[in-house]
C-alpha cells in the first residue's frame, strides 16, 4: 500500500512550518490561505507554540516580528489584500534584520478582487511593495511537496541571512490536493541564526555584520542590551543619518541575499538543446511542462525553465541558462510581471514573449501548446 498522503499545498505549508520548528504564528485568516491558519491554530499550540489571531494583517506581521526578536521561528500567512497591508512591516523587518516568513497565497486583485480565484499578480509587489530600496526574497513552489520543502528553506534563509522571506504561490497550488510522501528535515538540515559576536557590555554591537554581511543580533532576553529601529542605524543599532553609513547598510542588505539563487537553483526541463523555452513558475509551470512534452513529440526542441526563487534574481545565471533559446515565452497568471526580469536579462537577439492570463482561470495545456503554434513554429503549425 502506498504511503502517499492526499494533502493540499496549504496543508503542506503548515506541516512544513511545524517541521521547521515554527513557534509563533500571528495572522488574520483570508481565503485562499485560510487553511494554513486553520491547521496551525490547532496543531501549533499542541507542538508547544503560540497561535494568535490578530485584529488585522498589519498587527499580524507586527506580532511575528516581535516573536522573532524573542528568538522564535515565526510566520504569518495571507493573500493579496493582507499582503498589501504587510508591506510596511516587511520593510521594517528588512532594515532591522528580523527573520520571518510571510506566506502569500495569491488570488486575483487588485483590492479584494476575486476571492479564491488563482493569480500570480503579487510578484512585483513582493519586490517593490515596500517603500525605499531593499533587497527582497520570494520563493515560488510548484507542487504540494515543494510547498513543504520550500517552507523549510524559507525559514532557513530567513534565519541565516536575518531577512523576511516571502513564500508565494497561486490558489491552484494552495488548494490542490495531490498524493505526496513528505520527508521531514533532519536536524542538521535546519539552519540557525548567526550567534552574537562578543559578550554583553557597553561595547556590544548587535548590528556588526558577520562575513556574510549579516547582523548578529541576540534574542530579546539573552542578557544583551541593544537597540532595534526602522531608522538607518549604526552597528549598535542607534539611528544615524550619516550618508556613508546609510549607503553601506543599504548595499549590504541587498548583497547579503546574493547566495540565495544558487541555494535553490531553477528547474531546467529539456533545456540542454531547447530553442523554444517556456519560463513559468507555480501552477503555470506544470502546464508548460505538459506542453513541452507535446511539442517534443512533434519534434520541436522545447524546454521549460522554472525559477524557484523569484527574488533575488541572478541575472548572469539567467542569461547563461537561456543563451541557446531563440524564443522565450514567459507565461504567468498576471499581465506580465516576471517577464520584465527575463527581457531585461536577455540580449535583443532572443525573442521574449509575454503570455499573461488574467481573470482567475488557470492556463490550460492546450492554450500553452497552441501558443507555440501562434508563434510560427512551423512543425507544430503543420500538424
Amino acid at each position: 500500500m502506498s504511503k502517499r498522503e492526499l494533502i493540499s499545498g496549504n496543508e503542506a505549508c503548515a506541516l512544513g512550518a511545524l517541521a521547521s520548528g515554527l513557534r509563533f504564528f500571528g495572522g488574520y485568516p483570508i481565503s485562499p490561505s485560510s487553511e494554513i491558519s486553520e491547521i496551525l491554530s490547532s496543531r501549533l499550540p499542541r507542538a508547544g507554540g503560540v497561535f494568535v489571531q490578530m485584529e488585522d494583517e498589519m498587527a499580524s506581521l507586527g506580532s511575528v516580528i516581535g516573536a522573532s526578536l524573542g528568538g522564535l521561528r515565526a510566520m504569518t500567512a495571507t493573500s493579496g489584500p493582507g499582503f498589501t497591508l504587510m508591506q510596511e512591516h516587511l520593510g521594517y523587518a528588512s532594515l532591522a534584520e528580523i527573520p520571518c516568513l510571510v506566506v502569500d497565497v495569491m488570488r486575483v486583485g487588485p483590492s479584494t478582487g476575486v476571492p479564491t480565484a488563482p493569480s500570480q499578480g503579487d510578484v512585483m509587489q513582493a519586490r517593490w511593495g515596500s517603500h525605499g530600496d531593499r533587497g527582497t526574497v520570494a520563493l515560488s513552489p510548484a507542487s504540494v511537496e515543494e510547498v513543504y520543502n520550500l517552507t523549510v528553506h524559507a525559514f532557513n534563509i530567513a534565519d541565516r541571512l536575518r531577512t523576511p522571506v516571502v513564500l508565494m504561490f497561486d490558489e491552484v497550488i494552495g488548494h490542490m490536493r495531490e498524493g505526496v510522501e513528505l520527508s521531514p528535515p533532519a536536524p542538521e538540515d535546519l539552519w540557525g541564526r548567526p550567534r552574537p559576536a562578543g559578550a554583553p557590555g557597553p561595547d556590544f554591537r548587535a548590528y556588526a555584520p558577520n562575513e556574510q554581511g549579516v547582523a548578529q543580533l541576540p534574542a530579546f532576553g539573552d542578557g544583551y542590551r541593544f537597540h532595534v529601529t526602522g531608522l538607518f542605524h549604526d552597528e549598535r543599532g542607534y539611528p544615524t543619518t550619516n550618508p556613508d553609513l546609510v549607503r553601506q547598510a543599504l548595499e549590504r542588505l541587498e548583497r547579503k541575499l546574493d547566495p540565495i539563487p544558487a541555494w535553490l537553483p531553477p528547474e531546467k526541463y529539456h533545456m540542454t538543446d531547447a530553442d523554444f523555452v517556456y519560463v513559468a513558475y507555480g501552477a503555470v509551470s506544470r502546464v508548460a511542462r505538459e506542453a513541452v512534452d507535446r511539442l517534443r513529440e512533434k519534434g520541436v526542441a522545447a524546454g521549460l525553465y522554472r525559477p524557484r526563487v523569484l527574488w533575488p534574481v541572478d541575472e548572469a545565471a539567467l542569461r547563461k541558462d537561456l543563451a541557446k533559446a531563440r524564443t522565450v515565452v514567459v507565461a504567468e497568471m498576471n499581465r506580465g510581471q516576471w517577464v520584465q526580469v527575463v527581457s531585461q536579462a536577455l540580449p535583443p537577439a532572443i525573442r521574449v514573449v509575454s503570455y499573461g492570463k488574467t481573470g482567475g482561470e488557470p492556463v490550460t495545456t492546450d492554450e500553452m501548446y497552441g501558443l507555440a503554434a501562434d508563434l510560427n513554429l512551423r512543425s507544430v503549425k503543420s500538424s
Binding site: 488548494h175 498524493g179 506544470r286 511542462r289
Partner: protein, 188 residues
Amino acid sequence: MWRKEIRLAGSGGQGLGLAAMVLADAALRAGLHATIMQSYGPEARGGASRADVTLSDQPIANPWFPAPRILLALSQKAWDRFSPKLGADALAIVDLDRVQGAQGANVWALPFERTARAELREKVAANMLALGALGVVLEHIPQEILAETAQSRAPKGFGQVNRTAVARGWQLMGDALGGIAHVESVGP
C-alpha cells in the same frame, strides 16, 4: 496514458468533498496518481458545490480542467450548471430522483438517495453509492480498495454504512450496464 477528469457536483452537505477524498485516496492506494480541486466560498455552504478529481496512471501536471470527462450530479442545480459543458464523449451519472431532464446515451440515472434511505436508513450515504457507481465506469480502481477507503475515511459510526454503500452503488451501475458488476485490479 490513462487519464480521467471527473466532476463531483451537488449541493453543499451532500458530501461531495468527502467523496472526492475517498475517490482520490483509493486511486492512490490502487497505484494511480490523483489530484483534487474543490470549490471554496459560498458554494461549499449550500449552493451548487463541486469537487474536481483528476486520475491518471502518470503524474498530473494540471489539476484544473474547464470541462469534465465524467460528471456526477446529485442535484438539479449541479446538473443544470455543469451539463451544458459536457463534450459529446463525456459520461454523466445522476441521481434518478434529484435530477430531471438528464438524457442521452452516456447518461446514467440511478436511485442513489432512494436506495440509501430505503436500504441503509442513511440518506447521506447517497454520495458513497454514487462513488460505487463511478468506480465501475472508471475501471481502474478495484471495488475492494474503494470500499475499504470509504470505510476508513468515514465519519465516526459510518464506516460500515459507507462500505456497504459503495458495494451497493457498484451493483446498481453493474446492473444498469448489463452485468459488469466486478472489475479486477487493472492498475499499473
